[in-house]
């Protein structure tokens, strides 16, 4: 056991350099770093860290293997439970999950579980062989949406012997991992690689299939599927309803990031989809999505890229690490400011944004101090691009054709937290479409629980 109080540092690209490329910001551990960090783990008898991992990774066991330098075996150990380790190791909010519970974290910095997971997954990436495909004779399952929830459910069901087909609306699998989270945080090659490994388990992915349009959920049952898992995410962008919101230069974060990530507009005109980024960019909101949009704008040539948020710094919902990265890159934070109007020129392009200053008042229901506008404090921010990153709701396309699937007032699907069961027989759901925009690991956990429930459901109904 080592006496280091702090996590082993992970090298990263210098901020000055990285703002002119889309290469990954953090560079990953060396074998030596990994072994050193693994030695900080106390190998607890009752490992609290595991309670914080929704996909139930055997954390002390895999870390013990890393400490011994048995990286391939460590990878095997992780893969028993997690089919997307290279992704989770990069984007899991570990500080709120496994690492928050780690016992070492009480006095010192917790063991860097996420970094170790990433190291192990990367280490075996090119050498790993997927063992033979299971016989697919237990039944047929249709999965809608190839995001983390759908991919996890698919992999788990294939592993226990189901014939699984994923239907994905886009021309590429991955969901937000592919169209939302930028290349510099999660290289698309890694997503592709982990998706390929899920295909090697025998899972079929049908791209360009919008369920609700090309097929209704009912028709999937007619086609012989025994159960359907809905993992369609929360893709519907919200806007503020401000005057000027439809001017040229106002984007939803979804559109901006989809153009850049999925359509590779950052390599325009080699790739043919354009993206417009002006000189001064304001991103409304302060979550992970907002940080991604602001950092992307900077890399596309914006001279100034700003986060505009109506609350204060302590209340920003983004991960601390992402805020830190954004700040190091020169993103400006205009806190306690709320946009009230977007201004444009005669050709319909954005020329500025009116904001009102805010102050913190009494705490609201969530216990956060509510921001209240300061009277007559409007001012005009000089910007030519505005990106709305104020949240998303579930996309209603699938539900429109399946009204029997009950939803909440928020448009999310009503599903049992433990099983993913919906109000419609044989239909299960999980991920952002049930919880509203959340995290990759929560979506994966839901996919995992639903896979178990689907197995029980089909076995039960076959009797």
């Amino acid at each position: 056991m080592s006496k280091e109080t702090k996590k082993t540092k992970m090298p990263e690209q210098n901020p000055k350099e990285r703002i002119s490329n889309f290469d990954e910001v953090t560079l990953g551990y060396s074998a030596e770093d990994a072994i050193n960090e693994a030695k900080r783990c106390l190998q607890c008898k009752n490992p609290l860290c595991m309670q914080g991992c929704p996909v139930e990774i055997d954390i002390p066991d895999f870390i013990a293997l890393v400490a011994e330098g048995k990286f391939a075996e460590a990878a095997q150990k992780i893969k028993e439970k997690n089919n997307l380790p290279a992704i989770c190791g990069r984007v899991c909010p570990q500080e709120e999950q496994c690492e928050q519970k780690c016992i070492v974290g009480i006095k010192n910095e917790p063991v860097a579980i996420g970094r170790l997971e990433r190291f192990v997954a990367d280490y075996v990436r090119d050498t790993e062989v997927i063992e033979g495909v299971m016989k697919q004779e237990k039944g047929k399952v249709a999965i809608v949406g190839a995001g983390p929830a759908g991919l996890t459910a698919a992999a788990d069901l294939a592993k226990v012997g189901y014939q699984v087909t994923i239907f994905e609306a886009f021309h590429e699998a991955g969901g937000v991992l592919t169209y939302g989270i930028p290349e510099f945080r999660l290289p698309k090659e890694i997503v592709k690689d982990e998706v390929d490994k899920i295909k090697q388990l025998g899972v079929e992915i049908k791209l360009n299939h919008v369920i609700g349009k090309i097929k209704r959920v009912d028709e999937l049952f007619e086609d012989g599927y025994d159960a359907v898992f809905v993992g369609t995410g929360a893709g519907l962008p919200r806007f503020l309803g401000l005057e000027g919101e439809n001017l040229n230069g106002v984007y939803s974060a979804n559109e901006f990031l989809t153009r850049v990530n999925l359509m590779k507009a950052y390599r325009f005109p080699e790739y043919k989809t354009p993206v417009y980024v002006g000189k001064r960019v304001a991103v409304i909101g302060a979550g992970n999505v907002a940080m991604d949009a602001a950092r992307t704008a900077l890399r596309l040539g914006a001279e100034e890229s700003m986060i505009v948020y109506r609350r204060a710094r302590e209340q920003m919902p983004a991960r601390a690490e992402e805020i830190h990265h954004a700040e190091a890159e020169g993103i400006k934070f205009k806190l306690l400011n709320n946009p009230t109007k977007i201004l444009g020129d005669e050709n319909g392009f954005v020329t500025g944004m009116e904001c009102i200053k805010m102050e913190l008042g009494e705490p609201d229901d969530s216990g956060r101090r509510r921001p209240v506008p300061i009277e007559d404090s409007e001012w005009i921010m000089d910007v030519d691009t505005v990106i709305m990153a104020i949240g998303q709701s579930p996309n209603p396309i699938l539900l429109k054709d399946s009204p029997e699937i009950e939803t909440t007032d928020w448009g999310t699907i009503l599903a049992d937290d433990r099983t993913g069961k919906t109000s419609k027989e044989g239909v299960f759901a999980g991920g952002d479409t049930v919880t509203g925009a959340a995290t990759v690991i929560q979506a994966m956990g839901a996919g995992k629980r639903a896979a178990r429930a689907i197995d029980e459901y089909i076995q039960g109904s076959n009797k």
Partner: protein
């Protein structure tokens, strides 16, 4: 891959393709569109389903060369394939319960209009059609419309065929002479749909237009296709593309369509390294 089984040039720079897509053909209805991608580097391009054959499992699209991507599509040959094709997208339109409908097409608008007109006729509706174009050789689908229309008018800007002037001139005469028109459907350039809608408003005749907003996903997840209809923001790809012409803010749409004009010139020129882009290339 989605194979092109037939290609035909209808007019200079206007090409008709039949594409194998059996599952899309089964679900296609008038008003639907699809999105295609030619290859890995290509944009996602929305195109109306101009016709469909469920038995043979194919859909027809009619494409006009206007910029880089449409040119790339028009260069495809019989036997080539689209890498991606997704559909049917959008809300289909209902064609029941109309007695008399005027169908107004501006240029290529005849293509998206055709399946709607055909479906109306199938429901027993009388239709009067107006096909407008800049010049004679750009008039498309004349025979197809002739076959299904009770009356067919042609108008060209230069007078090389039919009436010389705009489709709105012909439409005005029709509205003067007929007080039993249930609906006008107008599809064509934004500016033409705007003027048709202004005219029909004067006569109090319901009007449907089909918007060709800029789109990315076509499933309601980007909001790039926003349009103000009756003061409310709608997404053309899922709430439309057909809307009540009297409620659409056309001026906003006209501005939004020009958003990427500068970029398109760059794509067309194929040059590498977007202006102002900080990203270095190796």
């Amino acid at each position: 891959m989605y194979k092109i089984i037939a290609k035909k040039e209808l007019a200079p720079k206007i090409v008709k393709f039949k594409v194998l897509a059996p599952k899309v053909a089964i679900k296609a209805k008038p008003g639907h569109f699809l999105i295609v991608r030619v290859d890995e580097q290509a944009e996602r391009i929305p195109l109306t389903i101009a016709d469909y054959n469920r038995k043979e499992g194919n859909v027809t699209i009619i494409v006009q060369e206007v910029g880089y991507s449409s040119k790339e599509i028009c260069a495809l040959e019989e036997g080539d394939s689209f890498l991606d094709l997704v559909g049917p997208l959008g809300e289909h339109i209902e064609t029941e319960n109309y007695n008399k409908v005027v169908c107004v097409a501006g240029g290529l608008g005849a293509a998206p209009l055709y399946p709607k007109a055909k479906s109306l006729v199938g429901e027993g509706t009388d239709i009067i059609s107006i096909l407008g174009a800049r010049t004679e050789e750009l008039v498309i689908l004349e025979d197809d419309f002739d076959e299904i229309s009770n009356q067919l008018y042609i108008s060209t800007d230069d007078g090389s065929k039919g009436h010389q002037g705009f489709v709105t001139d012909v439409l005005k005469d029709i509205l003067e002479d007929n007080d039993d028109i249930d609906l006008v459907i107008a599809i064509g350039p934004m500016i033409m749909m705007k003027f048709v809608s202004e005219l029909t408003k004067e006569y109090g005749v319901n009007t449907m237009v089909s918007l060709n907003s800029l789109m990315v996903d076509g499933t309601g997840m980007c909001g790039g296709c926003r349009v103000t209809v009756g003061g409310e923001t709608k997404f053309a790809c899922v709430d439309g593309p057909a809307f009540d012409g009297h409620l659409v803010d056309f001026d906003e749409q006209l501005r939004r369509q020009k958003f990427y004009n500068e970029h398109e010139k760059l794509a067309d020129g194929h040059s590498i390294g977007g202006e102002g882009c900080r990203v270095k290339r190796n």
